[in-house]
Symmetry: C2
Subunit: 393 residues, 2 copies
């Protein structure tokens, strides 16, 4: 019993955390409950139920399988379901008619052949990457409805009437789902994607802000916590998330500041540049923890500190400005100039290195860290520049 109570306390804490992290989850759960309750009215009112009979069930089924977290997902599934049902219904009737020409022995053979061919071809079609991304569910429903219509027709002659009431109930289910999904606190995949990309740029900025200070052991005002600095790590594996959001966003109509054909692909491009930048940060982050090189002496540190700090702070400011501009959907005004300043600092660092009198160095290994740090920073700035250009498009 004691074990049960600890488990339930744990569950409750987890549930609370999930709800707190994103309160839209609770809203979504309630929305699903609401949509199902609305559709179940079809059962409670006798005249409505008499009209549809057992097909009423399909309205409930439709709501449950179509309702997704984002508007894009719901629209995509709903459209897939309706289109596939209509198409498969037509094909099913055609097959039913063709098979009935075959006589008593030919009929099951023709039916079985068509079912086998359609099921195999549709299943194979689901492997096409582009189709999988957008029409996977539709193809599933296509096979399902086709089999149901053509096979049920073999036993049930009233199939036409049944099919009609089923399509009607599916339409009702879709409409109720869409209305609840769009008009009660909607969650737009497009907005989510937009925020995700802007937040990722912000995370890069936070890393740079913290990195300079931590590397040179300075304490700054408005210091960045270690947690904030590590936020960039989520970018490393953000690809699949960004891709699925992009696919969902394509289904969405005009909303807020987004047009119907918003250039969603551009977000994928910025996202992949963010990732390239994050790979470099992963290595820079390694320098903070590593003791595989000895720390350079204070003297060498001093020579490069100024430029390195400048690179970090200007990059951070530029990225922050960029994230803000993206969030507000305005053109970034000063981001470019911050990055230019960072580039100038990098050039200075480079010439500083060129003029370096090596007699000052006691141990060649001391410079290794500084030099590799500098080369990584150069590299990263090139990345950031590309991000700036992409965002401006």
């Amino acid at each position: 019993f004691a074990k049960l109570s600890t488990v339930s306390v744990k569950l409750a804490t987890m549930a609370k955390k999930l709800a707190k992290d994103d309160s839209r989850r609770v809203v979504h759960a309630l929305k699903v409950g609401l949509a199902i309750s609305l559709v179940s009215l079809l059962y409670y009112f006798k005249p409505l139920y008499d009209g549809f009979g057992t097909s009423t069930m399909w309205a409930i089924v439709t709501v449950i399988v179509v309702f997704e977290f984002s508007v894009g997902g719901t629209l995509g599934r709903g459209l897939n379901r309706v289109m596939a049902t209509l198409l498969a219904g037509g094909l099913g009737f055609g097959t039913h008619y063709l098979a009935s020409l075959g006589g008593d022995t030919g009929r099951p053979i023709i039916l079985a052949l068509f079912v086998f061919i359609l099921a195999s071809v549709s299943t194979f079609t689901r492997f096409f990457p582009k189709i999988k991304a957008r029409y996977d569910y539709g193809l599933l429903i296509l096979i399902l409805t086709f089999c149901m219509v053509s096979l049920s027709g073999y036993r049930d002659e009233e199939i036409a009437k049944l099919a009609l009431s089923r399509i009607l109930t599916i339409l009702i289910g879709c409409c109720v789902t869409l209305i609840v999904c769009i008009f009660v606190r909607p969650v737009w995949a497009g907005t989510d994607l937009h925020c995700l990309v802007a937040n990722n740029i912000q995370s890069l900025a936070l890393f740079f802000q913290g990195f300079g200070a931590e590397f040179f052991g300075l304490s700054q005002e408005g210091e960045v916590s270690n947690d904030d600095m590590q936020k960039y790590r989520t970018i490393l594996n953000s690809k699949s998330n960004e891709e699925s959001l992009t696919n969902l966003a394509r289904w969405e109509p005009r909303h807020g500041k987004f047009r119907y054909r918003h250039p969603w692909k551009q977000y994928l491009k910025i996202g992949s540049l963010n990732r390239e930048c994050a790979y470099r940060l992963e290595l820079l982050n390694g320098y903070l923890k590593t003791n595989q090189f000895q720390m350079p002496s204070q003297q060498i540190h001093g020579q490069f500190k100024e430029e390195c700090m400048k690179i970090c702070s200007e990059s951070s400011r530029g990225l922050r400005e960029l994230a803000l501009a993206l969030r507000k959907m305005v053109l970034p005004l000063t981001a470019k100039s911050h990055i230019e300043k960072a580039k100038i600092a990098a050039e200075n660092l480079k010439s500083h290195l060129e003029e370096w009198r090596f007699e000052e160095v006691n141990n060649a290994m001391e410079i290794v860290q500084v030099v590799s740090l500098a080369s990584l920073l150069f590299d990263t700035i090139c990345c950031i520049e590309k991000i700036v250009d992409s965002v401006q498009e």
Copy 2:
């Protein structure tokens, strides 16, 4: 018309490529067709159909929605479906009974309340990450069946008989699907995961093999093509793929050399180390293309060539050995010693750098590339060492 024919030619080429890349896709499509054909026999034989009536439909539905590409996926969905149906059936009957105590006015209110609560709670539960990974489909079916049983019970008094035949047909559907899936050319998610991880280690090895030669402009025997070298790039974004395969593999029974409780989590650990290594290769790869640093003079190149080449070739050999051992599921015998040799070469490189007389260098920038290359190589070897240790576990 000409457009149509070019489109269809394009489609045919794509389909051919998909089939050629992985012939199991074609087999899978045919397997789905076969399973559906088998189940549709329930329609063709009158005595069978008379037993189940319209519930026969659910056998077809089950086959179509449960049949997945891998055995793990199919087993997972099948178990989810059967368990959720039974659980929801029980709950539905309970609610049906409770509601019938409420009298004519109380009944719909009690029903609506229960439906709303169950739908909302289950939908929220689907947000728990662990539950989402394994039981997402089960929860969907739970809501679906619960609503169908409790609501249909409101109109149809013969619900118990209907529910029984529906559960029977769902079981038949699941059995047919599993039999076809497991006994006709099965696709095991566990084997796929195993091969994926081994191939990824192999890709790392190929990169090292090619890198040394290309960087120092040597042409070697048995040279590695550029395509082979770039294979490591797929590792960068392999996380979600590995995670989903691991989730599927957990459902699978003993097969081939894999036990039921094979340590699948270990693969995730190796996978994430592979990715860390790949981030470093991404930067090494950058050195091959970049002209942001001037190429070091031949003289400097010469000094470090030997050690760098040794690091690359020994790393490559060690990784290759590791991949092979993993594929055959034996302990890698010599991998460790190859990596030890690579480490010794790295230590030599380090002391070489320490003894370096800087008067030989005309331009400090010349050493930047060598030094950062060396530091990246050190870093990468540490990564590889961790991979070796993980695989040996």
